[in-house]
Symmetry: C2
Subunit: 467 residues, 2 copies
Amino acid sequence: MIYDLIIVGAGLTGLCAARTLLKTGHENISFKILEARDRVGGRTQNQHFQLGSHSTVVDIGGQWIGPSQNNVLNLIQELEGLELVEQTWVTKKSGAGEPGLYEVLRRKPLTLEENQEVIEINRRLEQMALLLTVEEPFKCEQANKWDLISIGEYFRQNVKYENARQELELEVVSLTACSADKLSLLYWLIFLRSIPGGYTSLDDGVNGAQHYKLTTGAQNISVLLAQQLARKYGQDCIEYEQPVQTVNYEEDTVIRVITANREYSCRRLLLAFAHTLLLQIQFSPKLPKIYQELSSSMIMGQCIKTIFIYNQAFWRINNVTNEELSSEQALEGPCYNLFEAPLHNDTHHALIGLIVGDLASKWSKRPEEDLIQAITTQYQRLYSCPDAIPIKTCIQYWPNEIYSGGCYAGTFPPKVLTKYHHLLRKPIIDERIWCASTETALQWIGYMEGAIQAGEAIYKQISQTIR
Amino acid sequence: MIYDLIIVGAGLTGLCAARTLLKTGHENISFKILEARDRVGGRTQNQHFQLGSHSTVVDIGGQWIGPSQNNVLNLIQELEGLELVEQTWVTKKSGAGEPGLYEVLRRKPLTLEENQEVIEINRRLEQMALLLTVEEPFKCEQANKWDLISIGEYFRQNVKYENARQELELEVVSLTACSADKLSLLYWLIFLRSIPGGYTSLDDGVNGAQHYKLTTGAQNISVLLAQQLARKYGQDCIEYEQPVQTVNYEEDTVIRVITANREYSCRRLLLAFAHTLLLQIQFSPKLPKIYQELSSSMIMGQCIKTIFIYNQAFWRINNVTNEELSSEQALEGPCYNLFEAPLHNDTHHALIGLIVGDLASKWSKRPEEDLIQAITTQYQRLYSCPDAIPIKTCIQYWPNEIYSGGCYAGTFPPKVLTKYHHLLRKPIIDERIWCASTETALQWIGYMEGAIQAGEAIYKQISQTIR
């Protein structure tokens, strides 16, 4: 059988593209989703386990949702059965002893002048970002110039206070999982422009981009989307553990998509993953060289997400102040950001720790027991509790996930966008092969919101070829 | 003759609505623009005069353009012959002696803590704004609550430092020409949401909303638009000095539009002015009561724009620092904001002074010579130059302009939007009568950019009734 459309990748973008079939009166189109893993959800992932008598779920991938992310909020409402809760934002400083701890661990305390400079630099970056559009950044005269240097270099050239510069770099790596020296200034501005509200929306804290989370895990959005598709098109509309090895698009109308043990034919192919992964598939004929260059020039963010579960919320007991947390000791451990994760039972308590950027790359290559030891020690020191030992740990090494290639998203070093940006949202092969992911979104690049928007947008492009 | 469309008001909204005729293949539609004044441009206005041998033009209405205001920037490019220059932003502090002076006159110096609070409050307001949309603010749960109080009241409830509160109030009155106590908190949030980039884009300074101006005055945009229409449709497509007195829409298809000495018939009527002015026209039958209420509940901003011309740029001579400027003395005069206006000749120099809010209402009722004296004294004190006497003054009292009713724009006090917001962007009479202006824009409400966008948007609505 020749499918009208094959979608490779059952993450949010692929599933939302397929869902749009349902919604736009294209129900008669034959399609198939091929997923490399044994699960849906891509860079969102739940981990289930028993804690005593409690069955528990934690997010080991993307998890947070901001209050102005309307695509994902509408989708959640529409899918039914998903429950949002607010992330809590207690720092030791603001309310020691309460549940809901949140800390930026590697942040140094800033003087008012230093903080002022951080705000002023961010304001300037926002103003620069407003001069361009996400879709056509090079219509802005300065875009070429901005693509010549990294955002890290921009900070070195423009920031007076060393502590302010470090804070700004910390913001960049926290938001992209990529070090400031590896990111093009222009990419940073495009990213910023893609966020309605800019820094105000990206912030941690109430009404920021980490405002909500799902009680049953963010992967559940994809699970419910897949169930919805299965009800309509049958269980086999998604095939699991079928990593695509070869795409043969020689013949004029039929594309052959080949996995380890199967072969599929289709007229249109949507690659619903980041352009960074294009090189993992053999194309015949070879893809235009420019796509190979784009794919190898992009850099995936690097993130390890860790959840450490304890019998006691020891971090609520000792009244350690923020000032003490920010000492050199606090800088020594692997984690950058720390969130308390409610487990909805009173006997167990969890901390989410994020490791990002170069440190994530480094720790991805070392044995897991070393990382567990390092984080255990980091938390013990932070909260002056040398006896605190986790009873369970969940660690997801996104840099080692070959079907994602990293997390949060694919980013651009200097001088790459200038050459390849025009390719990002265009078909790879006219009317036949497309590539879409949160990286190609026009809003909230790198977020779940972006992935959903990209899926809906690419389906519109594809549907125009279906007459 | 029965026109397909009559547009009342030859400001940017009315002219841009008509221009869209040209651009959308509706060239065969018969239309007429009726303008109450003897000129186009509405709240933009040039004043021409001789200075010695130099013929000079100054803006006595809206004049500035921000770098992300794409509708107006594109229009300027398309019209040809208009030249943008950048506003200069020299304060006495940053570069005494250079041309390009700019001062916020009534601003008190803030401590870093006070400034920090201003930034934090603005950040919180931006986050609140991001929870709603301009088109449907009441989809946001908190909207009803936010409409109960004024932004001034919000500041009193939430701002700790008195100086920070005054600075925030000053921002509001500078941006709306309306005092914070008269504006609904919800209106402020909708206004803010309508500005891509929020406060970052509204700022004075480089890349802010006052970044560019036109060398030949902003009214020239409307003049060129009118010329373009006249070339295509004939000189009489705009009729001047025809304030509409009565609109008779009894009969089912024909609307009669009556001025002092003429009568026109049309099938569709676009009232291209703020809803505040609806009460100036007698409708027969009477407009639904809800429109009368809306019209009388909105409040027009109040602004007097003054241009004082001197033989010498005395403000560049004395090295008065910003700190001294901010003394109580500086607070005494009528002007809030001060800009140097280049006159493109070396023998004359001008200062633009803006009077806004309640002070503008007050000064509008007093003799012009008193205002000239007060401003002259204010500038003399500011720059320690007791001999500085202007050789010419241009003053536009927008509160006294009956066909605008004020400036910059119509705003909403508490508890009005809750009742009437749903009317703003809908036809007044289905398929027959519409009202549009910068107040109905979805982006840049109250700016030229908004007026242009509103004109294009309303034409789309109207054109759907033309089959």
